[in-house]
């Protein structure tokens, strides 16, 4: 992986540091599973998720709220994989 992409993924990982422990744990589990094996589409979906407010994101990830957006829906499903 080139240095630029490596730095971008490290930044993305830092943006997965959240205000709510629940989200920290979900993202931690996700990154442990995938390592740096993240394609461009997944990276884009993750970027959109981490830009959300924490409570809105947790509502989505915990299934309290649904989304019709296929990109977000797919990423949320990956995060929910136990």
């Amino acid at each position: 992986m080139d240095e630029e992409r490596g730095a971008r993924l490290r930044r993305l990982r830092w943006h997965c540091r959240r205000a709510l422990l629940e989200l920290d744990l979900m993202f931690q589990r996700y990154w442990r599973r995938t390592g740096d094996d993240v394609d461009a589409a997944t990276e884009a979906a993750l970027e959109r998720l981490v830009a959300m407010e924490d409570h809105d994101l947790w509502d989505l990830v915990s299934g309290r709220r649904e989304t019709d957006d296929p990109q977000l829906k797919g990423m949320v499903e990956k995060l929910r994989q136990v």
């Binding site: 240095e3 490596g6 730095a7 490290r10 930044r11 990982r13 830092w14 540091r17 959240r18 205000a19 709510l20 422990l21 629940e22 920290d24 744990l25 979900m26 931690q28 407010e53 924490d54 409570h55 915990s62 299934g63 309290r64 929910r80 136990v82």
Partner: protein, 595 residues
């Protein structure tokens, strides 16, 4: 080596509620103000606060700040300073109404006033009956508060340094604080922030425990920096625990689960609370339930391969009740415990939630430390507020909804004091002592060059397990003694942590290693302070200090009505008196804390 220098009137470290409230005070007074924060301000841990903010507005029924003060002193188990508590309770209405004017969307009564609800420990008429004192914005009070304060700061031209980590206090030979060194994550560059006022609002350090409700960002950075700069940490033995966090994860399972009929069971399937609280059983108070759980685990009746948790059973409830009345619990259990609570019980342990101690301050937000014969001399140029500070209003135990009040009142107060100090100072900024900057560079250099060092993840885990097992919610003399020796061993490992990734841009391994250096200071302070305090008080409960007629609840006012001060140098302890004289009213006299 030279580093870039940036100069401000005031620098605030941390952009949660306390940091944003302090920054607002400074920026609106026209001072050039910088806020350094590891994460975007509205992602600070204040977001997680749901309960509300306490203020005796009396919108729903009669209330008075003096009643609130009484509740807070009693809640603190008389370890809170009564001058600071009076100050906070008297200021509550003002800071809440200010926040309302900043656009905070509080819940409303039909008449359009701020709606208030009851909350544990808040009573009317000096402990007579529950009172409606908590002001909330649905279940997103902290989130709404941060947004209101952030927007106001943007308007006031506060300059934010987002994704920067403060590393060390810059203090000169006279002890004056002249700013901080900080790391820009984007570039890896170290910069010196020079300021006439430095305010710490870095939050708590709940991540020292294995089971913690705190988000990963709560690494006690301000406490670590203060300790390294020779500032003591006060009352670090006092941590609030919640009985039911998901084992291994820390995510809270609300008390509502037991309210709906959830039962705690040990490895034999026994409903053990019947033995500890025959009447209230699983609905006994938080401390009683937590102690019972720890006793079961310590006596070998815990569950799982390591016998280190108990079970919260709701399998006997109608699944419809679980889905309707306990929304989210099923999902939390599936996600973080790997069990569906409709079919299997949830593994739970008492979980660290809030840090009562911290950097010692007075009610004006100035950091204070012993000098000569006085125990509370202001450290020039240094202020602190919020969970990282110890004013001390929570003493040995915090009341719910007083944490958001703490950060509003003392964030504002620290800001006001800093404004006065900066405006009356006629001198230019002092030169920064190069040796203070070199200390930061040496820490970074050690991390970059350490060979065959310890693993950061393993060391963090060792610290967290040591704290959980030796200094948890229920404490034992022999375990604490052993814990001191173990945590000092872990500290040695932390001092030789090595990182593989040496890159500059967003090097999260380096950031986490630096955070660990802060956490370990807090862990050592906690263990040593707890081992030394030979009584039970508030959240510090020792097996060898039980309830007796001479010492009700194990509290020993004759010997231990005093604040602990831990100094990093030599792990030295000192003690200072509790301020029992309020500002204008009579002392709230000592008595047994009972509800």
């Amino acid at each position: 080596m030279k580093v870039t220098k940036r100069t401000f009137d005031a620098v605030i470290v941390g952009a949660g509620g306390a940091g944003l409230r302090a920054a607002l005070q400074l920026s609106e007074s026209g001072l050039k103000t910088a806020v350094i924060t590891k994460v975007f301000p509205t992602r600070s841990h204040t977001v997680a606060a749901q309960g509300g903010v306490a203020a005796s507005l009396g919108n729903s029924e009669e209330d008075h700040w003096h009643w609130h003060m009484y509740d807070t002193v009693k809640g603190s188990d008389w370890l809170g300073d009564q001058d600071a508590i009076e100050f906070m309770c008297r200021k509550a209405n003002e800071v809440v109404i200010e926040l309302e004017h900043y656009g905070m969307p509080f819940d409303r009564t039909d008449a359009g006033k701020i709606y208030q609800r009851p909350f544990g420990g808040h009573m009317s008429n000096f402990g007579e009956k529950p009172v409606r004192r908590s002001c909330a914005a649905a279940d997103r009070t902290g989130h709404a508060m941060l947004h209101a304060l952030y927007q106001r700061n943007v308007r006031a031209n506060t300059q934010f340094f987002v994704e920067w980590m403060a590393l060390d206090l810059i203090r000169d030979a006279e002890g004056e604080v002249l700013g901080v060194t900080a790391l820009e994550m984007e570039t890896g560059e170290i910069v010196a922030f020079q300021s006439k006022a430095t305010i710490f609002a870095t939050g708590g350090a709940g991540r020292i425990y294995y089971s913690s409700t705190n988000a990963f960002i709560n690494t006690g950075d301000g406490l670590g920096m203060a300790a390294r700069a020779g500032i003591p940490l006060e009352d670090m033995e006092f941590w609030q625990f919640h009985p039911t966090g998901v084992a291994g994860a820390g995510v809270l399972i609300t008390e509502g689960v037991r309210g709906e009929g959830g039962i705690l069971r040990n490895s034999a399937g026994e409903r053990f609370m019947e033995r500890y609280a025959p009447n209230a059983k699983d609905l006994a108070s938080r401390d009683v339930v937590s102690r019972a759980m720890v006793t079961e685990i310590n006596e070998g009746r815990g569950c799982g391969p390591n016998k280190d948790f108990v079970l919260l059973d709701i399998t006997h409830l109608d699944p419809k009740v679980i889905m309707q009345r306990l929304p989210g619990i099923r999902e939390i259990s599936i996600q973080f415990a790997g069990t569906d609570p409709i079919k299997e019980p949830i593994p739970v342990v008492p979980t660290c939630h809030y840090q009562m101690g911290g950097i010692p301050t007075n009610y004006s937000g100035q950091v204070v430390a012993p000098r000569g014969s006085s125990m509370n001399v202001a450290v020039p140029g240094f202020y602190a507020a919020g969970e990282c500070a110890c004013a001390s209003v929570h003493g040995a135990n915090r009341l719910g909804t007083n944490s958001l009040l703490d950060l509003l009142v003392f964030g504002k107060s620290a800001g006001e004091t800093a404004v006065e100090d900066v405006k009356k100072s006629t001198k230019a900024h002092k030169d920064l002592p190069q040796e203070a900057i070199e200390r930061t560079l040496a820490r970074i250099n050690r991390l970059d060059t350490q060979k065959d060092g310890a693993d950061a993840h393993e060391s963090r885990l060792a610290m967290q397990r040591t704290m959980q097992n030796h200094c948890g919610v229920f404490r034992f003399a022999d375990k604490l003694k052993e814990g001191v020796s173990k945590i000092l061993d872990v500290q040695k490992d932390v001092q030789r942590v090595a990182i593989k990734d040496k890159s500059k841009v967003f090097n999260t391994a380096r950031i986490e290693a630096l955070e660990l250096e802060n956490l370990i200071e807090v862990a050592v302070a906690t263990m040593i302070s707890a081992e030394a305090r030979k009584e039970s008080r508030g959240a510090h409960v020792r097996d060898d200090a039980p309830d007796t007629p001479e010492n009700p609840n194990g509290r020993d006012d004759k010997n231990w009505l005093k604040h602990t001060l831990w100094f990093k140098e030599g792990n030295r302890l000192d003690y200072k008196s509790v301020k029992l004289t309020p500002l204008t009213v009579d002392t709230i006299e000592l008595k047994k804390r009972a509800y």
